[in-house]
């Protein structure tokens, strides 16, 4: 595995050197290409300014900030329970997962813990938002490469998951279901059986995508060896989630940290890939979606009985202190550094979102690639604009 990694890195350096030599030999007039802010391939309003030399990018700079909503400032004028409705708009495809680390940080400061059943249901909904989020990525991936079919399948099957989230929480995109000390409500009747059948459907969806897309020759040749991120560079930039694991780093916060969630109650596999290219990033996400359906099924098997809400005061005042909690969100490590001064609202909240770090590697990564590969590399990094700008 390391042999392959070293060989790949050498090949990568050699190709960069060859390209640099070519640029010196053939002096061509540069051109600036502006991708975005409105562009079908940018998932929102990310603008990328590329300076080209022929077909190659010699310099690229993402220009974020078209969707900055100032959540860090807004949290300072909200009470703790009100903040969840803000933060679940950060990564809007996996909203529930955004609420969890903030609530856990507040619970850590208040020194309370949600009852086991609430922790279990939280973890199930967390994994469901991962499935909803990443299944859309898997479909969207085809569109970036000119394949239209997968995206329809993705929207069709994501709908089943959104219906589940809606019937449990009342909201399709913004559940706002997490409370300090537990959950707003218990699961509705018949939900567990319904979830089992949806998980089977989603596994079929993963198999279909695996056949249609990952087995496709064009897909392979467009993604294999493209946009290689070596392990140490990924770590230096703070890449997280599937982007980091696709570079061969075996690091998953679900397994690697002690946290008041139910992931330690089930066995699951953390998927990694040694290559670090676009294909590896997509492949890791496919495997993770499949694994997430299995995690949900195992969690449903072990769902404990009991209350879903701990005893908390009606007016929530959070004691003075500082807490950092991060979880393995669909996009990567999402964390909140919460500072409380003993008031009803937080004093300062630093939101560490995954896409911000994941996209900060783009100027490095796009140097020397060909223009069509810009789109596949950006798609394989998988960012949500709200998660970059916050």
């Amino acid at each position: 595995m390391t042999m392959l990694g070293d060989r790949q890195r050498l090949a990568y350096i050699a190709s960069q050197a060859a390209d640099a030599r070519l640029n010196v030999e053939l002096e061509t007039e540069g051109m600036t290409l502006n991708i975005g802010p409105q562009h079908p391939a940018t998932h929102g309003t990310l603008r990328i300014i590329c300076r080209l030399d022929g077909e190659q990018v010699v310099w690229a700079e993402p220009s974020a900030g078209y969707m900055h909503r100032g959540y860090e400032k807004l949290t300072e004028v909200r009470t703790f329970p009100q903040v969840t409705s803000l933060v679940n708009r950060i990564d809007w495809l996996g909203s529930f997962a955004n609420e969890v680390p903030f609530i856990l940080a507040a619970e850590k400061l208040m020194d309370i813990e949600a009852p086991p059943r609430a922790q279990h249901i939280r973890t199930i909904l967390f994994e469901l938002s991962r499935i909803a989020n990443v299944s859309l990525f898997l479909g969207d991936l085809g569109v970036q490469l000119g394949a239209i079919t997968p995206v329809f399948m993705a929207f069709r099957d994501r709908e089943y998951v959104l219906n589940l989230i809606e019937s449990a929480t009342g909201g399709r995109f913004h559940p706002n279901f997490d409370r300090i000390g537990g959950l707003k409500d218990d699961l509705p009747k018949g939900w567990i059986e319904e979830t089992r059948s949806v998980m089977r459907k989603l596994r079929t969806f993963c198999d279909e995508i695996d056949d249609l897309l990952f087995g496709n020759e064009i897909f392979q040749s467009r993604t294999r060896g493209i946009g290689v991120i070596p392990k140490d560079v990924a770590l230096q930039y703070g890449l997280s989630g599937p982007n980091l694991r696709a570079s061969g780093v075996d690091y998953d916060l679900r397994r690697d940290q002690k946290i008041a969630m139910a992931w330690d109650k089930v066995d699951f596999k953390v998927w990694t890939h040694p290559d670090g290219d676009s294909f590896a990033r997509c492949w890791v996400r496919l495997q993770e979606t499949r694994e997430a359906t299995l995690i949900v099924e195992k969690l449903l098997d072990t769902l404990p009985a009991g209350p879903v809400m701990a005893k908390v005061p009606r007016i929530i005042k959070v004691p003075e202190g500082e807490a950092w909690v991060s979880t393995e969100n669909p996009l990567g490590e999402m964390g909140y550094y919460v500072v409380s001064k003993g008031d009803m609202g937080p004093f300062r909240v630093k939101i560490r979102s995954a896409s911000f770090n994941n996209i900060s590697i783009v100027p490095w990564l796009l140097r020397g690639v060909y223009v069509p590969d810009v789109i596949t590399i950006l798609a394989s990094l998988y960012f949500i604009l709200g998660d970059i700008d916050r």
């Binding site: 770590l235 980091l244 950092w324 001064k341 630093k350």
Partner: protein, 210 residues
């Protein structure tokens, strides 16, 4: 090795590397570790975290303004006269002397723990850049620069990320007013607006605990 022993060891390693530049430390068992270093040792501390402690993964870098907001607390109604409250600057864990503090976090992907590191920012509002230690600090420092007005010596490109160029002020400072909040209070702890068709003085609309 359990987490707390790792955190204690990280503090010892940092002390060996930095000497008296390490001002204060706090290890909360089963939770996390905080350290505070002298501002001039910020760069050395980053190198020590990366190489001596072995924290290979860069998490985030940002700043805190410890001044209590002159516009009242979040739950206060800004249109009402402000209640008397303590306006002294009190820093959080591991203390501090200045209004602004820089804080950052790095983690180990093999040992599975992280360290939160802080440093006071002097009146010149200039800190050394962390890009030589962790390349990913680049964008985080740009964000801290525009939101708090901190300069990073050695940073190649401190352009604004979010705000339009030419924007005056630093929005995340506590003395920067949130204008939308100044003119209309957030509905607050309980919704005080009456429902349509409901008289304003009905018992449900008086803002009581309901």
């Amino acid at each position: 090795m359990p987490g707390d022993a790792l955190r204690e060891r990280a503090v010892d390693q940092l002390r060996a590397e930095l000497g008296d530049a390490l001002i204060d430390t706090l290890v909360k068992p089963g939770d996390d570790v905080w350290v505070r270093v002298r501002a001039d040792a910020w760069h050395e501390a980053g190198i020590a975290l990366r190489d001596a402690v072995g924290l290979d993964y860069f998490c985030f870098l940002s700043a805190i303004d410890w001044m209590p907001s002159p516009f009242g607390r979040g739950e206060d109604d800004p249109t009402q006269p402000q209640a008397e409250r303590d306006m002294t600057i009190r820093q959080g864990y591991t203390g501090g002397e200045t209004r602004f503090q820089l804080f950052a976090r790095a983690c180990s992907t093999t040992l599975h723990f992280g360290v939160t590191i802080k440093a006071d920012i002097g009146d010149d509002m200039t800190m050394p850049t962390w890009i030589p230690c962790y390349t990913g600090a680049n964008w985080h420092e740009r964000e801290a620069h525009e939101m708090f007005g901190i300069n990073f010596a050695g940073h190649p490109d401190l352009r604004n990320m979010y705000l339009p160029s030419g924007f005056e002020g630093h929005p995340m400072r506590k003395d920067f007013p949130l204008l939308a909040r100044m003119v209309k209070p957030w509905p607050g702890i309980v919704d005080v607006e009456p429902l349509p068709g409901e008289p304003a003085d009905s018992p449900d609309a008086d803002g009581g605990e309901s």
